[in-house]
């Protein structure tokens, strides 16, 4: 009797343990790590999307980790030494070469095909941006590019037609001149105009790395590029480059429509100091919330003939990792995110997927038209392994120094250009 009882208890115990372990394994959620560099209001939008996905898919846990892009990429590089590589890494179009060039990203062509995505479902520029060296390394989430934010109230007050917003360089300067008013009501070029006593400026541009992006677009508008086809040297047409920088410098010092020493064009625009300002769609939520005037957007001015606007785009990549279950879950998540990217549109970014842009949800968002119209004309920075060093947005990077010399210091354009080319070539030359 005793042995029988013990045996029965033993069997029951084993069954119970087996049941517990089995159910634990069955319920163990697949966890994927999703890293991105969004730290502003767009972080909240992404977080909502991620939570939405988890609610719909209870067997999956998505850990969203965000920190500013530069430290994010530092962390990503060191993660290969610590072994905590993320499953999905967001980056920009021009960052792909940096990491694919170090063999840290997996090609995704097969996954794209399996998920049923095709090139014609996305904006062509966005789709093309996911390739490097002929291999597709990412899926396109969105694009963001420059456009011109316009204060319609000031437009009307200056006697301009708000239905005919400027799109060419000449139209822009003409409008900005009428919109630049000094304390005596005079405009630039008129007798008695005092540039030190201006109460409203016509146009605002940034003097940081974005000024280099304006230059880059103006180069593309002349059919020129900055680097040679191999991406290892600067090979820019100096005549066209100087013309591009000169146009920007003239806005401040010759046409006097841009306030000298401007540091934050959008801030100046939203507080009513400038009537128009160039910035990206990431400012749209702030415009919606803080602008106390009627506003709209128009495309970045076409100055030299061929329309071109600087832009970039967020893409989703799969870092090299040996975990098929997580990879599967990651692709499933990315697929869902792309199909639901209309929600991402509230962050200001323009969804790459055509279907997302055609939803009522996206169409009801204000100010997006000019950005959507710019999609076919977006030019990206060169996607080379050294992009983040040559075109670094920080500190003494040659593009920032050049932009500030031209716009803040009124340095001779040829001199600033030479420094830019030398600086960029120096970085490209070091192994």
């Amino acid at each position: 009797m005793k042995r029988k009882t013990i045996t029965r208890i033993g069997i029951a115990a084993v069954l119970l343990v087996g049941l517990a372990v089995g159910s634990a394994l069955a319920q163990a959620p697949v966890t994927i790590d999703f890293w991105g560099g969004w730290t502003g209001p767009d972080r909240g939008v992404m977080e909502n999307l991620v939570n939405h996905y988890q609610t719909q898919n209870p067997g999956v846990k998505v850990n969203l980790f965000t920190v500013q892009w530069t430290p994010l990429f530092d962390r990503f590089l060191t993660s290969f030494r610590s072994g905590e590589v993320p499953d999905v890494l967001a980056m920009h179009v021009q960052d792909i070469a940096t990491f694919a060039g170090r063999n840290l990203l997996q090609p995704v062509a097969k996954d794209v095909a399996n998920a049923g995505f095709k090139a014609d479902q996305f904006a062509q520029t966005a789709w093309n941006g996911t390739f490097w060296g002929g291999t597709q390394y990412a899926l396109p989430l969105d694009l963001h590019m420059h456009a011109n934010f316009v204060n319609l109230d000031m437009f009307k007050a200056a006697g301009l037609d708000p239905s005919k917003l400027p799109t060419t360089g000449a139209e822009l300067i003409a409008a900005a001149t009428k919109l630049t008013i000094d304390q005596n009501g005079k405009h630039p070029g008129e007798n008695g105009f005092d540039p030190t006593k201006v109460k409203q400026w016509g146009f605002g541009i940034n003097s940081n790395h974005h000024a280099f992006y304006y230059f880059y677009a103006l180069l593309a508008q002349q059919g020129a590029s900055f680097l040679d086809p191999t991406g290892t040297k600067v090979a820019v047409d100096t005549g066209k480059a100087e013309r591009a920088w000169q146009w920007l410098q003239d806005l401040v010092y010759k046409y006097k429509v841009v306030p000298p020493g401007e540091t934050n064009a959008f801030q100046d625009w939203v507080t009513g100091r400038v009537a128009m300002a160039v910035d990206g769609p990431w400012q749209l939520p702030a415009a919606q919330e803080s602008a106390t005037f009627a506003w709209s957007t128009t495309t970045f001015p076409n100055v030299f003939g061929t329309p071109a606007t600087w832009g970039s785009g967020h893409v989703l990549t799969l870092p090299v990792k040996n975990d098929p279950a997580k990879r599967q879950a990651a692709i499933k998540f990315i697929t869902w995110l792309l199909n639901n990217s209309a929600g991402w549109g509230t962050s200001g970014n323009i969804p790459a997927m055509l279907a997302a842009r055609q939803t009522q949800e996206f169409k009801s968002l204000p100010g997006r038209t000019a950005f959507v119209n710019s999609l076919p004309f977006v030019v990206f920075l060169p996607d080379i392994p050294k992009t983040n060093q040559v075109f670094s947005a920080a500190g003494p990077s040659p593009i920032v120094v050049a932009a500030q010399s031209v716009i803040l210091q009124a340095a001779p354009v040829s001199q600033a250009l030479k420094q830019l080319i030398d600086g960029a070539n120096q970085i490209l030359a070091t192994p």
């Binding site: 530092d74 590089l77 060191t78 290969f80 003494p396 920032v400 500030q404 803040l408």
Partner: protein, 306 residues
Amino acid sequence: MAENAATSTRLALRRGASSRWYGGATPWLFLAPFLAAFVLFRLGPVIGGFFISLTRWSIVGSPTWVGLANYRALLRDPLFHTSLVNTLFFVLLTVPAMVALSLGLALLVNMRLAPRIFARTSIFLPYVVMAAVVGVIWNWMLDSNFGLVNYALKLVGLGPFRWLTDFKLAMPAVAGVTIWWTVGFNMIIYLAGLQDVPRELEEAAMIDGAGPLAVLRHVTLPMLTPTTFVVLMLTTINAAQVFDQIYVMTGGGPGTSTLTLVQYLFYQAFQSFNLGYGSAIAYFVFLLLAVFGIIQLRLVHQQVTS
């Protein structure tokens, strides 16, 4: 008195065999946690950093030995020269002002005037604020268009000044912010030093007919020499290593007018992924400060012995 101490120690040591063992290892056991942390996080990286400076390394992958190539490259690097000149300029702008101003403030606060506690607190309070916060707030205050500083100046008919976007004004602006931020700390050190100046000496000088300025020059200041030495050393070392507020306020700009040594180091090591080169810059700063420290020590030694 010393002999008694020695005798009693010998007696204590002989009293118990266990106490001899106690005396030997116990201090080390107490120090062990601190020493471990110190070696791991301070000494180790300092030595490791020197070896990194002899390599070329970009985080991913292993370092490649290049010997003194990084140091040779430093000598030819125009941006490095710019950062060195800018750093020296910053040191010249801040150190004399910091030492003189903090001494003046300490003397003022030390006088038994009515608002001394309020003054002392409000002068020191900025030091408690974090560098990033200081940078962000002053960015707004110094903005050319909507900053409070330009607004205040406009009320008296001055300006507007492009504090952070004019190539010539940016470094003085950052220096000004730094002085505002850290003068309180130096003042506290001077206040402590002033308490050590014997009142009898000052009173004796006054009885002998010395006016307050003469007392200051011939009694107070010489007595403050060790304090001045400490303040000068600390201020110079901090000024040579300035990074936080410049990173937040100007990022080294406009152009390269506020690019300092540590700023350039950060750019090279963590934004351009040239760890070896960044390390070499760090060691150069170390050498610079070591030389300066030795010069200072010699000067103080001279003054003390003369």
